[in-house]
């Protein structure tokens, strides 16, 4: 049995493909096929009552020249970028704090981060309306302290959307960061101090480089879904803070322009693909140490 014969390796290959079949099937049916349909639709004319009529056209792509769409797209990217940055600034210290607690505390703290997930996303976002609206918690409090006369406009703008996005995606940042920090060898911090580096230099030269993987993973996990968000801006945002996700949703459901909706989806996907590629190149490099 020490020399595997060719037939054996062939059998192994067959076994492997049988084992992989469910996963392959799942990917083809639910990922590749819809993607191809969307790509196909983007080159077809719209049907009168939704759907498509089977005529090839490039018109849908030409519509993208309209600066309105670029405005929405830029806003989406800006908001997603802002969300990612805030999540990182809040999430890193939080993950660091959790990872440096005694083990029995770590699980409890992680649970506290995950618990909000057990509530429906819509309900959690609606809760922010109660907090942010004119008669809401914040405005009532500030007014009763006589700090302001007029209620602040906290709701139905980009500010409210950013809050909702940060709130919704923070766990996606904290969990991968925690996973890297938990494996981090904290004696390296002592070594760095020993060699004369203060806390800031230790952070920049030792801790951040060694937890870069978690930073990149967390940022992608926040950035990618945040770009395509449509529920949060729908509920918390006003007319001036719609994101590209709302536009896509609107083309499919409201305007019944499936081909143009497909074009917008593909543009969005292309933009999101860039950071993914960066991530994969990054993870290949960091395998070296």
């Amino acid at each position: 049995m020490t020399h595997p014969s060719p037939s054996q390796t062939l059998r192994q290959k067959i076994n492997l493909s049988i084992l992989l079949f469910p996963a392959t099937f799942w990917l083809i049916l639910f990922f590749l096929l819809p993607l191809l349909i969307v790509l196909l639709y983007s080159f077809l004319e719209r049907g009168t009552y939704g759907g498509v009529s089977w005529v090839f056209t490039l018109e849908n792509y030409q519509r993208l020249i309209n600066p309105i769409y670029w405005g929405v797209l830029t806003r989406s990217l800006n908001l997603a970028f802002l969300t990612t940055t805030i999540c990182l600034l809040v999430g890193y210290p939080l993950a660091f704090f959790i990872a440096t607690r005694p083990p029995r505390w770590q699980n409890t703290l992680l649970l506290l981060i995950i618990i909000p997930f057990w509530t429906n996303f819509l309900i959690r976002i609606y809760a922010w309306i109660i907090i942010l609206r004119n008669e809401g918690v914040i405005n009532t409090l500030l007014q009763s302290l006589n700090l302001i006369n007029q209620p602040l406009d906290l709701l139905f703008n980009s500010f409210a959307v950013s809050i909702g996005l940060v709130y919704g995606y923070l766990p996606f940042m904290v969990l991968p960061l925690y996973a890297t920090l938990e494996k981090f060898d904290f004696s390296l911090i002592e070594a760095s101090h020993d060699l004369g580096a203060n806390d800031l230099k230790t952070l920049i030269r030792v801790v951040l480089p060694l937890t870069l993987r978690g930073i990149v993973a967390g940022s992608l996990l926040v950035f990618i879904p945040a770009v395509g968000e449509f529920i949060t801006p729908d509920i918390l945002g006003g007319a001036k803070s719609i994101m590209i996700g709302n536009l896509v949703q609107n083309q499919f459901l409201g305007a019944r322009n499936w081909p143009f909706g497909s074009v917008l989806s593909i543009v969005m996907m292309a933009i999101v693909l860039v950071p993914i590629l960066i991530y994969f190149r990054n993870s290949e490099n960091s395998n070296q140490f």
């Binding site: 002592e190 070594a191 101090h193 020993d194 004369g196 030269r205 030792v206 480089p209 140490f289």
Partner: protein
């Protein structure tokens, strides 16, 4: 001036349920400049904790640490003139060997050119040239150890701290590195404070050794003092092998004392200390300091007994001899002549001769039943 001085240093850790744990208790040490000073003791005796308090990773609960005469309480680790070689090396995995060594110099904002020369010199000193661009994980354990050493030495600190730096190396490499470290210390003139639980390592390398047990310093002295004149039973037992004979002083004059072991065996020892008649004392006898003879060989009074165990060890042979029903003694004899390798058999009656000035008397001990217990434990080794 002392390179490092500890004054009444204690460290109390708060454990689970706020239970206090005394890891280090009232330790005072003076470590002169340029000395190779070892902290020796069994696992958990507080060696690492003492080292961490000197480096600044822990603050003493009470007491003070002085380095070069300066009080260190308010100085964080990165402002102390000491560097540490860690037990697990703690090399930066994302940096190359050269970058690891340069790290400490970059923190001092030295000019690039100077950093490069000093890194080169340090790597040459630990014989690692040619490996500059490797990452720590591409190095063997011994090489990693050298990088850790170079990284600390390149800072040219007043004091270098070592926490069992050779613990992870195999025996041969460890012996090599011991010599190299000792050599390097003499060459550089830096004060080394060296933590180890290996008594042989401490004896071969140190100028002075502090023996610790359960957070307390038991004895400080040169290797010779520690080995030849242990001041308590623990030190005698921990460093090398010792026979302990517990007895009562029955005679005392200016020249020495006579100790009665097991109510039957009088041993007279010259000593300058005075012990009152009736005091229970322990005699410490190193196995290699006793000689074994056939029965009736000597006509002066001496110890006599029956051989119960013979173990051939190559360089020497180890005999266990029963003196009284309660006491045994271990004697080692160097195997100089092939002809008399097996001249003592089990069950044979023998005499034991000791240079009486090589017996150390300790003013501590308990008669029976612990005595029988120790005797049998020795035998089982």
């Amino acid at each position: 001036m002392n390179a490092v001085e500890l004054v009444g240093v204690s460290k109390v850790f708060l454990g689970k349920n706020k239970r206090e744990f005394r890891a280090v208790h009232q330790v005072s040490l003076q470590i002169p400049e340029g000395e190779f000073f070892s902290l020796l003791g069994p696992s958990g005796c507080g060696k690492t904790t003492i080292l961490r308090m000197i480096a600044g990773f822990e603050l003493p609960t009470t007491g003070e640490v002085y380095i070069q005469g300066e009080q260190m309480r308010d100085r964080p680790p990165f402002h102390r003139p000491v560097n540490t070689v860690f037990q697990n090396y703690a090399l930066f995995p994302h940096l190359t060997v050269a970058e690891n060594v340069a790290f400490g110099l970059e923190m001092e904002n030295l000019p690039r050119q100077q950093i490069r020369t000093r890194v080169g010199d340090a790597l040459a000193l630990v014989r690692l040239n040619g490996l500059e661009d490797r990452r720590p994980r591409q190095l063997s354990g011994g090489q990693q150890q050298r990088v850790a050493l170079a990284r600390a030495i390149v800072k040219q600190p007043q004091v270098l701290l070592f926490d069992e730096p050779l613990g992870a190396l195999d025996l041969k490499l460890r012996k090599e590195m011991q010599l190299e470290l000792k050599h390097m210390q003499q060459q550089l003139g830096i004060t080394f404070i060296y933590v180890t639980h290996d008594q042989e390592e401490a004896l071969t390398m140190s100028d002075q050794i502090a023996v610790l047990q359960e957070g307390k310093v038991l004895q400080v002295g040169t290797p010779t003092e520690i080995y030849e004149q242990p001041n308590c039973r623990f030190v005698a037992d921990f460093i090398g092998e010792s026979n302990f004979l517990v007895g009562r002083v029955i005679e005392q004059d200016s020249g020495g004392v006579v100790v009665l072991v097991d109510e039957t065996l009088p041993i007279s020892i010259p000593c300058s200390e005075t012990f009152p008649v009736g005091k229970v004392v322990t005699l410490v006898i190193r196995p290699e300091k006793a000689t074994i003879h056939p029965a009736h060989y000597l006509d002066q009074p001496c110890l006599a007994g029956i051989v119960t165990e013979v173990v051939y060890l190559g360089t020497d042979t180890r005999f266990v001899i029963r003196l009284t029903p309660q006491s045994t003694i271990v004697v080692r004899r160097q195997n100089i002549y092939r002809s008399n390798l097996d001249c003592f058999a089990i069950g044979e009656s023998v005499q034991i001769q000791m240079a009486s000035d090589s017996i150390q008397i300790l003013g501590e001990g308990q008669l029976l039943p612990s005595q029988t217990f120790t005797a049998s434990r020795r035998e089982n080794r």
